[in-house]
Symmetry: C2
């Protein structure tokens, strides 16, 4: 431990002092503080008065030491780039988690490993039992972290459907359904040659969105076509590059489904440069409903995800797991909403 202690720390009010003031034993004060029913009304009141008077707050370290509970959960973010740093996904998710656990007097410990070494230390930290559970956000397929902590039987909830570790609880949005809806909307608007700009293949969200895209095409009898599918990395530049590629391969395309708003924005700039008008020549829809969607010109139709709700659900699931370690894994799938804007206006609008 690198922290030396030059200064004596201020010492708080202890149970002992409260007990003395209330004229009872430590045990009784503990009972009152923890809401045990085995305390008579008078004694309870006098203890509460003493607690109030002294401004007593339990020492979490002492409590943890004996209960073997930390009263905290970890939120692990292992995403070096991408959507977590390009739209408000991350703060909104944290807010959802935070509101839910705060109500239960549980703290959130934030872990953001960057290097492999960090990731090792993060796993050690979790496995050492410093927290009661962990929420894992944005996992790539090759991440060894979830496997390690699930093996260690740490209560775990994953945000986003995990590629491996099927036995774990997770919260996800219906990426496939969201994508399908978006593409169906393009078809309803009269589009027939619809391309897809997908995300990294090692992310479940990318795969699901691609499947949803194909679902819609197949359901409409259009059929999937590899020359209409390009993959990028959720970034604007990646979206632009994919768009150039698609335009070269399929100059006849009349719509694009992009698996992120940023990629959609990149695609739009390429379409603009190529002299294709949006939405007249090419309709486009994005994903995430980020600020970029609303500020784009034309404003971008996009798939909105209930992000706060994901945070809340993941926290709720984790707290359940912490309460009862033998509980079977659960999955919560939240639905998306298509936000229609000018970029995907149909050809035959009424």
């Amino acid at each position: 431990m690198t922290v030396s202690n030059t200064q004596p720390r201020p010492r708080g009010v202890t149970l002992e002092e409260v007990a003395r003031l209330a004229g009872v034993s430590r045990a009784t004060v503990s009972r009152v503080v923890n809401g045990s029913p085995r305390v008579s009304g008078d004694v309870r009141r006098s203890v509460e008065t003493a607690v109030e008077k002294l401004g007593y707050v339990p020492n979490r370290a002492a409590r943890s030491l004996v209960t073997r509970r930390s009263g905290s959960i970890a939120v692990v973010i292992t995403e070096p780039t991408g959507r977590l740093f390009s739209d408000p996904f991350f703060p909104r998710l944290l807010r959802g988690i935070s509101t839910t656990v705060a109500a239960r007097d549980v703290q959130v410990v934030l872990l953001m490993p960057e290097t492999i070494g960090d990731s090792q230390r993060t796993a050690d930290y979790l496995v050492a039992g410093h927290v009661d559970g962990a929420i894992l956000v944005s996992l790539h397929g090759d991440d060894p972290l979830p496997g390690r902590i699930i093996d260690a039987r740490i209560a775990t909830v994953v945000v986003g459907r995990p590629l491996r570790n099927r036995g774990v609880s997770y919260v996800d949005v219906d990426n496939r359904g969201g994508a399908r809806n978006a593409v169906e909307d393009l078809i309803a608007g009269g589009r027939r040659v619809i391309a897809s700009i997908g995300g990294p293949a090692d992310m479940m969200a990318s795969q699901d969105r691609l499947h949803g895209y194909r679902d819609a095409l197949v359901a409409a009898g259009l059929g999937a076509d590899p020359t209409l599918e390009a993959a990028a990395d959720f970034t604007q530049d990646g979206g632009a590059a994919a768009m150039r590629q698609l335009l070269a391969a399929r100059p006849d395309l009349d719509a694009v489904f992009a698996a992120s708003d940023l990629m959609a924005a990149g695609a739009m700039s390429v379409l603009d440069a190529a002299g294709r008008r949006v939405p007249e020549d090419v309709a486009i829809v994005g994903y995430d409903d980020s600020p970029v969607a609303a500020t784009a010109r034309p404003p971008l139709t996009s798939v909105r995800q209930p992000i706060e709700e994901m945070g809340q659900e993941s926290a709720r699931l984790l707290l359940e797991l912490v309460e009862d370690a033998d509980r079977a894994p659960r999955r919560v799938i939240l639905t998306t909403e298509l936000i229609r804007r000018a970029s995907s206006a149909g050809r035959a609008m009424p």
Copy 2:
């Protein structure tokens, strides 16, 4: 505490067990683990072997109990809306903080009070000494939190210059200088009637940016003019409303300095609707260099802030304060960078 314990927690390896395996006393193992120099080479090695073999990880709760240090710091986010949820400021700041404290084996506890009641509980939590220090982010002028925790002599660093509590350490960007640079650039591009769309008046960043704007005008001999100044709330809609107001009051304006990219985007859509071309008729610069700036059409010139660095510096300052509580408050002001894009192209470009 609402958490009951139905399940016995797994117990970790203790110092005692390591000591037994290494054939030394608990005290010696503690010395080795904490890097005390008062241990001979052989003993140190045998202890290290035992630690390795058993996979020993210190129990933080037990350690905290005796050292009166938690080995964690709080990051308090008190911003209900605005920039924290509209651009990647927040994740990037957290990342900066996280990398710095992780290197010192200190954890980050995230606190996001939403209601007044939450804020009370947050203050109680901090004052109770559950963390060694706190980083306060995005304070409005009327927030009672910083006053309370500074009074309680909790080590505190504020991100963004605080309106009150001048005696506290803080990290800020040179908002005034950044704004001044941006406006000077507009002037250098031949603009003469330059409007400002500011942020909320109760935020220091808003005030500083407004001052920087005026500085540049005065320095160029143009002089400040209240009819060219509008205030909004950092959002796109707010920026749009402010732009309408400015256009009505000063149809002769030829440039706009917006204190956020989102407001700039709102302003651009209004200019577009009013038939003013950007940058030909009206040049515009934003602030934050968010993804919105790069995706806007035309791409938006913007002031970039070193956000990760702010996080790192604030963490560094806080750790110093934790080490030595009597250390005098320090301020760190980081410089900004103007990212030139098409939206502010000069009139007489070479």
